[in-house]
Symmetry: C2
Subunit: 417 residues, 2 copies
Amino acid sequence: MANPYRSYLAIGESIDKKNYIIVTFFLHSEGQPFDRTAGGVAAESSVGTWTDVNLQGKTLWDKLHGKVFEADEKTGSVKIAYPLELFEPGNIPQLLSSIAGNIFGLLEISALRILDIDFPETFIKSFPGPFFGIAGIRKITGISNRPLIGSIIKPKLGLSHVEHMNAALDVFEAGVDLVKDDENLTSQSYNSFYNRVDEGTSQMKRSGFLGKGSEKIYAYNITASYDEMLKRAEYVVAKNGNCLMIDILTSGFAAVCGIRNKNFGKIIHAHRAMHAAFTRSKQYGISMLVIAKLARLSGVDSLHTGTIVGKMEGGKEEVLAIDNFLRGEWYGLKTVLPTASGGLHPGHVPDLVRLLGKDVLCNFGGGIHGHPDGSKAGAVAVVQAFDAATKNIPLEEYAKNHPELRKALEKWVVKEE
Amino acid sequence: MANPYRSYLAIGESIDKKNYIIVTFFLHSEGQPFDRTAGGVAAESSVGTWTDVNLQGKTLWDKLHGKVFEADEKTGSVKIAYPLELFEPGNIPQLLSSIAGNIFGLLEISALRILDIDFPETFIKSFPGPFFGIAGIRKITGISNRPLIGSIIKPKLGLSHVEHMNAALDVFEAGVDLVKDDENLTSQSYNSFYNRVDEGTSQMKRSGFLGKGSEKIYAYNITASYDEMLKRAEYVVAKNGNCLMIDILTSGFAAVCGIRNKNFGKIIHAHRAMHAAFTRSKQYGISMLVIAKLARLSGVDSLHTGTIVGKMEGGKEEVLAIDNFLRGEWYGLKTVLPTASGGLHPGHVPDLVRLLGKDVLCNFGGGIHGHPDGSKAGAVAVVQAFDAATKNIPLEEYAKNHPELRKALEKWVVKEE
């Protein structure tokens, strides 16, 4: 049988990268000719469908169809070039509906993952990108030459807004730079969003942590339906908070871009909850690198990317590729601060510093609030661990005359071994 | 080693379903004790983390922690009951950040899928649900006793707004009830959203298809960043269009709920592009049934669910479970019209009617616009196929004196055999 998608094949054709979005897929196609399936993917994700249609002649088909210009059955690698005219500038949901839409559901595929996307300059520049980026966050915090230290209040849920913000103040006082809500804390009966903002901004002002050039950052989680999300963002603005947190994947890119496009002049901290529902399978889905590229387009200032060490999956090579992308030049768009978060404690700090460098935010939840002597001691221990690591002193050595660190290591490092 | 998550295990405990959201998972945990991993999932998705924390005593921990009340290692089935107090009413992103958030990334799991969710009445009633539902759509269209017939204009992209709407009018005149944009058509240079709405609403008014009690429906795809999405919805309202289409997963539930909460009084048609990126893997992700439940909460009026036949994956049992959920009673929330779409042609109609019943919207793209004699003849052929099927006349029989149907069958059914 002839390949009905042969017109989508352009193997070896040289592609002018200025005019195309190029998507690298991993494809498997059990019992189907590989080329045919690759062509079918290019059709369904651009202008084609399962049969020829009459109106095709009336369209710009020649200008618009996706082109399979590389296809290697042995490795499963397929590269498709999509003409820019297929896409709406500034519209991430439309991009996803095209190149990450129906194709995952096609009967004839047995595996399909989006590994990477390369965007041309004109498309990238149709987005605002981050408002602050790494340099902007460093300017707000006054921290120039070390990783930022963050904490998530734990337990995730159940503290009142006062207990919650007391814990935040404790760790700020101990030297932590940023505190954030947990991803599932938004506005619950015992800890409403508005009470939390009131309490947080007033406590932080009183303590001199806001509005003085070297601020502490509090990331208030505004994740909700968009109408409510916008109200919450406006409330943080009204109360002179400095950071909006969004669970970008459970909220969705329409909402993230909506908030960013308002130009509130507040840091947007992006949590990636739910990413592994589609980044983790080796068969179907989208890589975290691609999500990171979309997040940078959408304009978040910091993004959870992985810890390498800690409780979450995500290997060294993958996390570094993502972090290096976020920190690198990208047609003038500002950078994004990579955030390492999940199961971290002071014992991990030397590895974090060695692996991730200094342009990173390292978050500690249980690894601070689980310290035997409480949250403040836990935060002191983390700060001590960063001091030791940046001075290249082994933790065990440094712990000898730093009791908070010593107790932390006794709880976590000894127990782990 | 003791199970640090044993306090999350409540196997056999009887759960009062009025006070809990109950999530059914498929879990696999290579080389780890099953109970321990199930408890770890319950911890991470409710109030716990990888270590004990000091502030736990201050919280409502006993009232708030998730409980593993069923765990069957042999089948991988795990049921966790989450106290309602964990969740914010009316907030789907927060729900997902909790029960579908970090857990997919936990190192110790080797497979985790959310198969089903049961919500208690109070949570369900914190959402508006569909504005119209099936009964409302039937009232608008005046069609009481048969499936609705829909068409997607094909090719997906490249027609001008005039060519596009001429094709829509052709198929409306032939008896099609609804026409929709394709999922990746939003506002491109050759076919801008606003031009399309102008052309569509004025052509449809001129032809008597709008505002007369038995309307034709046009679903304008408003998918974009939220600020632009809202402008587009308001434009459809201003021009008296009757239906907003949203790619609900690429836009995200914050945006879907944001639009629904505006109470525009327009049908919301939900396309599920990208669903298979997380519904298709057998290892990781979320079932389509769960997405359908969230979509009904969020308040869409119709939702793509599967065809059973056609070009997309999705087996009979799964699609029927979803469709029956959408059509069934759910604590007073209105129903959602299931939409079968993807690779359908007139030859599929008897199977569609037999399998899916009459409360369904069946969409034809290539199966109409690929007809040898053009879009209008293609639409006539589809309408003839539904006539035949509802009269229980075999298609080949009916085709003898219905030439449009005959030509369609000659192109698609004969070729398929």
